[in-house]
Symmetry: C2
Subunit: 176 residues, 2 copies
Amino acid sequence: MKRIAIDMDDVLAKTTHVIIDRINQLVEKKYSYEELMSGNTSVKEEFYGHYLANNSFLWEPGFFENIPVNEDAVEVVKKLTEHYEVFIVSAATEFPNSLKEKIGWMEQYFPFITWKHIVFCGHKHMIQADYLIDDHEKNLHTFTGTPLLFTAPHNLHIHDFQRVNNWKEVEKLLLD
Amino acid sequence: MKRIAIDMDDVLAKTTHVIIDRINQLVEKKYSYEELMSGNTSVKEEFYGHYLANNSFLWEPGFFENIPVNEDAVEVVKKLTEHYEVFIVSAATEFPNSLKEKIGWMEQYFPFITWKHIVFCGHKHMIQADYLIDDHEKNLHTFTGTPLLFTAPHNLHIHDFQRVNNWKEVEKLLLD
C-alpha cells in the first residue's frame, strides 16, 4: 500500500483565512483571501509584511482550535484512506500550544484518522512516504517521494512541483 | 551526515521509574526498578498486570513534565549532535496532554535540540534515519535503518536487535 503524507495548515485547514481575519483586526485593514490569490504583488507584500510583524497569535492557546476545514478535504481524505496509508504530518513543534489543539481538530473533522497516523515535527525531511501534499516549498524540496504543491497565496510563484489547486484535483490525480 | 532518531520514554527519560512510583502508590506495593530488571518473571508479570489495569495517569496533564533524565543522556546526546543529525522521535500522539510537556522537558534538559528536531508520532515506521535508539520492539522491527534496542525491564527477553544498556554504551558504539 502506498503511503501519502498530508500537511494540515493550508492543506486540510483554511489557516490563511483565519490569519487574514486576525491581521485585519490587528492592523485595521480589509485584506481578503481572494485578493491574496489574485497575484497583486504589492498588496501581497504589504499583507505579509504585517503578518511577519504581527504573528505572535500563532503561539497563543486557542489559535489552532477553530480553523475551518478545507472544501472537500474530509471526503477526499476518507477515500484516500481506502487506497493508501495516510499520515497527517504537520510542522507544529514550533507551536507547543497547537499540538493538543491539532489532535482535537483531527478528531473533530477526521475521526477516521487516529493518533497512530498523526505526526508533528519541525523539519519534514525525515518523513518516508510515496507522496507529500504540502503548501510549503521547503518541505517539498527535501522530500524523497513525489511532492505535490497544494495551492496557497504564498506559493503562487513556485513552479518546481506538480501543483494541486484543491481537494477535487487531489482526488482526480490519486484516485481516478 | 548520518541521522539518528532517539526515543524519549525509557531512553532519554526514566519513565518506568516514575511509572513504578505511581503504581506503588495506587496498589500499595513496593516494586522497584532493580526488581523488574532482575529477571524475576512472576514479579514482572504481577507488576505489568497492575500497570495495564491502572495506567490512566499516562493521559493526565502533568505526568510527562517531571520525569528525571537518564544517566549520561545529556552529555552523550550533546556529543552525538556534533557528529550526527539527531532527531528525537517520541510515539506521543496517543497522549495529547504530553505533547507540550515533552517540548518543555526537552527545553529543560536538551536545550541544544530545538523544536526543529523533535518529532511526535503514533507509528514510527515512516521515520527515515540511519539509526533508531528505542526500547520498543514494535518500533525497531519496522525501522529501515539500523535498530538499537535500549535496555528497559519490558524488553529483557528480546534478542532480535543489537542492544545498548546505557548511554555510555551508545557513546562507545556511535562515537568511538
